[in-house]
């Protein structure tokens, strides 16, 4: 919301509890900013109203009032510091979590985006068919002379293919006297006595009324407008019975009754459901689907083990390479360290997705750089184990500069007197590293290793760009050899015949619980590291 980013500015002003020495311009700035926030809030509310969301209006108004209440008075001094953070916390952290959890209990996804009423109305509108053998009329939209073009009842001025003139209204079709009627070059009536013909802009402004206008002719349906130039005789083939909550379709002389089933209109006697479904609450169905589905159960353990191995090996390999390089380049005797360090950081500076795509082409069996340099003929991306190796190598390339950076920083913060003391005590270089430097380094970078683990645990983009989860088992393309839980969930939710956001949300909750549990136990262990100090 627009009000959010503006609010953190206020706490930057010097806070003085006495009024006397506050300069006048500070007041001016403060009230100016508050005014701006008010204006921004009003603008947002206006936009939200035009979308018809009253919840949005309430939330925006609430936030703006909070800002006013906190900053326009002298009270609530702690809140002046806390409010921006609180607003950001709620909008950026808590709201998405609440939203994800609530979506997990619905069937929201492709084919299930509308409400039931909207879906039913859409289904009926989509079923309108031109009555076979009927004629097309040239049409102009008009109101009675003197009527207000924006509100008056609409009439269709019609020219039949045989040249006869008619007037259509909601009551029916009547003839139009030829006297005084002018027909334009496109065959449409441009002028008729007693009527005001609407121009394109006026007619367009009445789109909704025009859509609602059906001129009853024949036994069923009636004349409906096509745009602003034509009218056709058509009727919906589907009707809604509100009492029984059923749809009845009469098509090609066949009557089918549809009943609501799994959030679709399904034929009572079985068969293909109508395409437009609706969103509804499904309770714990998404969760029970995940827990009881056999493919998911069979694939889960395999994917989970690889996922943990991938994250752990990635963190360890990048950390050791990064640390070794950091130790090397931390040596005082080395000249030109700045240049070496800059070069080492390069892989980190290039966007990860570019790197992943470049590595993907380098791993090509026939045309790739890796095989042509090593004179091997390994099917890097087509063999399950080779693909795993390819991913780990790419991630090592992508990740070591980060570890190099943080290790360099941590090493420089280790006081040199500790190292000197070790030297005096007769420790050799390796012993110093093992007993002095490593423990001190790990205290600093331990939490970062856990963060890196959590990041790699959900490293969607790398897998997706390099192997797309493949190579796949011959009997099942939903479980790939290099799939992580997150890429697996993505495919599970989005590659079926209808992408299912509700199911995806449920998977996200499971993944969140796994990552949270692992991170928690990880942080508990680093806490024990700190006791060394």
């Amino acid at each position: 919301m627009a009000a959010v980013p503006a609010s953190p500015k206020d706490p930057l002003q010097p806070l003085r509890l006495g009024t006397d020495n506050t300069p006048w311009w500070a007041h001016a700035i403060k009230w100016g900013l508050l005014g701006l926030i008010l204006l921004a809030g009003a603008y947002v509310i206006q936009r939200v109203i035009s979308n018809g969301s009253w919840l949005g209006v309430v939330i925006t108004a609430f936030i703006v009032m909070c800002v006013l209440a906190v900053y326009s008075t002298r009270r609530a001094v702690p809140m002046k510091y806390l409010l921006p953070g609180l607003i950001l916390l709620v909008t950026l952290q808590i709201w998405p979590i609440v939203y994800t959890v609530s979506t997990a209990f619905t069937n929201y996804g492709q084919g299930h985006t509308l409400s039931k009423e909207d879906a039913t109305a859409r289904t009926i509108a989509d079923s309108v068919q031109e009555i076979p053998g009927s004629e097309r009329y040239k049409m102009s939209v008009a109101v009675k002379e003197g009527g207000d073009p924006t509100t008056a009842e609409l009439f269709m001025l019609l020219v039949k293919p045989d040249g006869t003139l008619h007037v259509g209204s909601k009551d029916g079709l009547t003839d139009l006297a030829k006297d005084g009627v002018e027909v334009g070059g496109t065959g449409k009536i441009t002028k008729a006595p007693g009527y005001t013909v609407l121009n394109a802009k006026q007619g367009n402004a009445r789109s909704k009324d025009l859509d609602a206008l059906t001129v009853p002719v024949g036994k069923q349906g009636g004349l409906k407008a096509v745009g602003l130039s034509q009218a056709f005789e058509g009727a919906p083939t589907i009707t809604y019975d509100a009492k029984a909550d059923t749809l009845t379709q009469v098509k090609d002389g066949k009557t089918t009754v549809y009943v609501p089933k799994n959030a679709y209109w399904s034929p009572k006697d079985g068969g293909q459901a109508l395409p437009t479904g609706w969103k509804e609450n499904v309770g714990f169905k998404n969760f029970s689907n995940l827990l009881t589905n056999e493919t998911i159960r069979a694939g889960f353990l395999k994917i989970f083990l690889w996922n943990v191995a991938f994250a752990a090996i990635s963190v360890l390999s990048t950390f050791f390479l990064g640390m070794l390089l950091a130790l090397l380049f931390n040596d005082d005797k080395l000249k030109g360290k700045g240049i070496y360090r800059s070069i080492l950081i390069l892989p980190y500076a290039i966007p990860g997705f570019v790197t992943a795509l470049v590595w993907a082409s380098m791993f090509n069996q026939d045309f790739g750089l890796v095989n042509s340099l090593t004179h091997l003929h390994i099917d890097w991306l087509g063999n399950a184990w080779a693909a795993k190796a390819a991913i780990l190598i790419t991630n090592l390339w992508l990740g070591f500069p980060y570890m190099f950076l943080v290790c360099t920083g941590a090493l420089q913060s280790i006081p040199s007197d500790v190292k000197e003391a070790a030297k005096i005590d007769g420790a050799n270089a390796f012993r110093t590293l093992r007993s002095i430097i490593m423990p001190l380094l790990l205290v600093a970078v331990g939490p970062l290793l856990i963060a890196s683990f959590a990041f790699n645990f959900n490293n969607f983009s790398l897998i997706y760009l390099l192997t797309q989860g493949g190579p796949f088992n011959a009997s099942d393309t939903s479980i790939g050899s290099t799939d992580l839980l997150i890429t697996y969930a993505f495919r599970l939710a989005f590659s079926g015949a209808s992408p299912n956001i509700g199911l995806a949300s449920a998977v996200c909750i499971f993944i969140f619980m796994i990552v949270a549990a692992m991170s928690y136990s990880g942080f508990r262990r680093t806490a024990s590291l700190e006791e060394i100090n």
């Binding site: 939200v48 939330i59 859509d211 015949a497």
Partner: protein, 451 residues
């Protein structure tokens, strides 16, 4: 990588959720966060692009004073970057003729952006897109039927008309048809081969002369496969993906991926893999480079590759896909480009008028042909273009007997399994029948699960 990526992802993802959340109540969030972020970004630039690209003729009606013109235009069209400029020119004509304002906007991710924006009531009145989006759009209730009269319908290529229908209802007005064909390097192979055997003979002869050639037949396969390029191998023997219902629509209940006909195609793919003609090491990422680099004499591709082929200075010829041994000619899928009218169009009447009165005219179809170079869907316009442009004629001839790509949502369940099956068979990892049986089983199960 780590922290930055975290932050950026969190901010965009969450910002999109918040924006969408503010948009309305809970049922209106977008499918993917990034796409919705771009959608809202393009939304915010509406006013500027609308004012720069729209034109209005004076509409001196008394009513306009009482009913001040809205900030947005009377007709808003979304199209891809290639077609938007040409469309703008034509839309200005329409605007001047009717005394209204028309805005054409470029939507880079049209399919996603249209779906997301329409759900929150911010979508355009008209959107330009491919026919295979249709099933999804009808499922989500985002497009409105278009009642074309019989005389106008008859002016289009029948396959284009069939492609704009779903469940017996017409939802689009077509303007171009595209398909893949055989593109050859005429310096290496002067004459178009009629059969696969001829093709291989010519390719081997070319390879004997030019050791640079690594790939006899350049077709995108990839490690995860590509069902779009696999289909012609099945269709040559009468196989394919879906059978049809009595009314001629694709029937999701009749999957024919492992029919006897389709299996003949699968065997052929296996043979091609064994002979190292096709390879899973040729994919979307390098197939075009192989041809433009002079490393392949034949390239199965569509009109989208031609600009780069021209840029590389390759002399090329376009011909129909060859026939396979013991079968007929390979038939590609047709992709039809359509004008759709949004189900939530604010200017439904004008939008319907535009697509039913202006899009089916020869002038319009010729104008939009300039932007894409694809054969026009209107027969009259195609005839005029084909007389002077041999490429267009060749593309059309190659797709003349092809069928439209299925626009039913069940097709979503086919891409992965069928592509992978073809890839595995070409790589020699699995025997053709067993592998395509497995794919059939998987596709049928996926369709069942979601209906």
């Amino acid at each position: 990588m780590h922290k930055r990526a975290y932050g950026a992802a969190a901010i965009t993802g969450v910002a999109a959720l918040v924006l969408a959340g503010c948009g309305s109540s809970s049922d209106k969030t977008s499918f993917t966060t990034t796409a919705s972020a771009t959608a809202s970004a393009s939304e915010s630039s509406d006013s500027t692009s609308a004012s720069s690209s729209s034109t209005s003729a004076a509409a001196p009606a008394a009513v306009d004073e009482k009913n001040p013109a809205r900030a947005d235009a009377d007709l808003v069209i979304w199209a891809d970057a290639d077609r938007a400029p040409i469309l703008t020119k034509y839309a200005q004509q329409f605007a001047a003729d009717n005394g209204v304002t028309v805005a054409v906007q470029i939507a880079a991710q049209t399919r996603q952006q249209f779906g997301d924006a329409t759900k929150v009531g911010k979508g355009p009145d008209i959107v330009v897109g491919a026919h295979d989006w249709l099933g999804e759009m009808v499922q989500n209730g985002t497009v409105a039927p278009i009642q074309l009269d019989a005389a106008t319908t008859a002016k289009f290529a029948p396959s284009a008309v069939a492609a704009s229908k779903f469940n017996g209802q017409n939802y689009g007005v077509p303007f171009s048809v595209e398909n893949i064909a055989l593109v050859r390097n005429t310096d290496m192979v002067p004459d178009a081969p009629a059969t696969l055997d001829d093709l291989l003979k010519a390719a081997k002869a070319a390879q004997a002369k030019d050791s640079k050639i690594t790939t006899l037949l350049d077709q995108s396969v990839g490690k995860t496969g590509n069902a779009y390029y696999t289909y012609p191998w099945l269709s040559a023997y009468g196989g394919g993906i879906f059978g049809t219902t009595a009314s001629g629509d694709y029937d999701p209940a009749k999957v024919i991926v492992n029919s006897a006909e389709s299996l003949k195609g699968a065997e052929q793919l296996a043979a091609m893999g064994k002979q190292k003609v096709l390879s899973t090491n040729v994919g979307d990422d390098n197939s075009e480079a192989l041809f433009t680099g002079g490393k392949a004499p034949f390239f199965i591709t569509g009109p989208w590759s031609i600009p780069n082929v021209k840029k590389a200075g390759i002399k090329y010829g376009i011909s129909s896909l060859p026939s396979l041994p013991g079968g007929d000619a390979m038939q590609p899928f047709l992709g039809v480009q359509l004008f759709y009218v949004s189900a939530k169009a604010k200017n439904a009447a004008l939008a319907q008028d535009f697509v039913t009165q202006y899009v089916p005219t020869k002038e319009f179809q010729l104008a939009i042909f300039q932007a894409g170079g694809r054969p026009p869907a209107l027969t009259e316009a195609y005839d005029e273009v084909a007389a002077s442009d041999p490429d267009v004629k060749a593309w059309y001839e190659a797709g003349k007997d092809g069928k439209p790509m299925p626009n039913i949502p069940a097709m979503n369940s086919v891409w992965g399994p069928l592509g992978q099956a073809a890839s595995d068979v070409i790589a020699g990892k699995a025997e053709a029948k067993a592998r395509f049986d497995a794919a059939q089983k998987e596709i049928v199960a996926a369709i069942k699960k979601s209906s």
